[in-house]
């Protein structure tokens, strides 16, 4: 790898991570479009590098969520069985799925992310007495989290675990195929199926992302599909960007940044869609 390219990879990952960090979103979704569209890399190399940076960001930020007692570790480990199984499926499928389909799928996920960024997440917390025979009760998933505004612990019940598991399988599959954390798919699944409080589902999703990505990244690493020269600087840039970015960019108006990122996501979606057709016609990545 050229030294200049290494530096630019670091800078690009740093920037994406810093911008995303201000809005509390993972930068994983930007890494693959940056590497394929800007650096003209093969999408499979981009996916491998992105997965490593996704793991790095998840591990780097998980500690503070855990200490804030927002992460529900039991839910995480239960759902990880489904996400890692989905990731395993993705590892088997990625060699078969045509490159054009990967670009198309990526465009769809980018569009969903843009839409989600515009929509406001709704809180639907259920604090009634839970059904003692539900999966969530048997697995002792109901818990509470500290609310800083009131200074008290807020109890919450967990709903529809089987539905949550099947959605997580899909999220794991997409994560392995596209090299993203799939937080964009995990969080709505946890909000709506499991009815977790927003802060708890964000923290728990972040916690699970690392293991999910490690399941596929480990397999790609063993296969030799992860290009170290790309993955190294991108992972380092992402971690540093997530850490420094939130402080550096604290003064930026969040609303304008949100609109900016929605526009960026939309443009990237269009660009990836065009690559999908381009790759189809030329038989290789654009």
């Amino acid at each position: 790898m050229e030294t200049a390219t290494t530096l630019w990879l670091f800078v690009a990952a740093f920037g994406a991570s810093a911008l995303g960090g201000v809005l509390g979103m993972a930068s994983g979704i930007f890494i693959v479009p940056i590497l394929t569209l800007l650096f003209h890399m093969d999408i499979h190399a981009a996916i491998g590098a992105s997965l490593v940076s996704v793991i790095a960001c998840s591990c780097g930020s998980a500690a503070s969520f855990i200490k804030g007692r927002l992460t529900n570790i039991r839910i995480a480990i239960i759902l990880e069985t489904a996400t890692t199984l989905g990731a395993l499926t993705g590892v088997f499928l990625i060699g078969i799925i045509p490159t054009a389909c990967l670009y198309g799928l990526f465009a769809a996920v980018l569009a969903i992310s843009a839409q989600q960024m515009l929509a406001r997440r709704r809180e639907a917390v259920d604090a009634n007495v839970p059904d003692a025979r539900s999966w969530a009760s048997v697995l002792r998933l109901h818990s509470s989290y500290p609310d800083h505004a009131s200074g008290r612990d807020v109890p919450y019940n967990v709903g529809r675990v089987p539905l949550g598991l099947s959605l997580m399988y899909g999220a794991g599959l997409i994560s392995a195929l596209l090299g993203i954390g799939s937080g964009v798919l995990k969080i709505p699944a946890m909000d709506s199926a499991l009815k977790l409080p927003i802060k708890v589902s964000s923290a728990t999703s972040n916690f699970m992302i690392g293991v999910t990505a490690a399941a596929s990244a480990g397999a790609y690493f063993v296969r030799g599909d992860i290009e170290i020269g790309i993955a190294g600087p991108v992972a380092l840039g992402s971690v540093a960007g997530a850490r420094a970015g939130a402080r550096l960019l604290l003064g930026l108006p969040a609303d304008k940044l949100r609109v900016f990122l929605v526009v960026v996501l939309g443009l990237l979606a269009i660009q990836m869609l065009m690559s999908a057709f381009g790759a189809h016609i030329q038989g290789g990545p654009a």
Partner: protein, 105 residues
């Protein structure tokens, strides 16, 4: 209270500590390797023989292993708490990850 119970605060501290120091260690390997590569680029004769690539590769491997290590840690914590259902669930996650690694070889 069971004598073997890991206190809840202690459990969170262990996991948070593993992830925090693991991230630092892996980042340090990658940063060290990249810096070494840069120095080699600037003054070739000085640093011949030091593999910057190996450092970066170790860092990347550490990052991939870190979440797996976290599941192993959870497995032992659940085992200490005699929570055998969750010990089994943790083991299942490790088996699935292991299957992926075996399939990769």
């Amino acid at each position: 209270m069971n004598r073997m119970t890991v206190k809840s605060g202690q459990r969170e501290r262990l996991i948070a500590g593993l992830l925090r120091y693991g991230t630092w260690l892996a980042s340090a390997f990658i940063a060290g390797g990249l810096t070494l590569g840069l120095l080699q680029h600037l003054s070739k004769p000085l640093f011949v023989g030091l593999g910057s690539f190996a450092f970066v590769k170790t860092g990347v491997a550490l990052f991939i292993l870190l979440p797996v290590a976290r599941v192993v840690l959870l497995l032992f914590i659940f085992l200490l708490e005699r929570d055998y259902v969750y010990t089994a669930v943790s083991a299942l996650v490790l088996v699935i990850i292991g299957a992926g690694l075996l399939a990769g070889i």
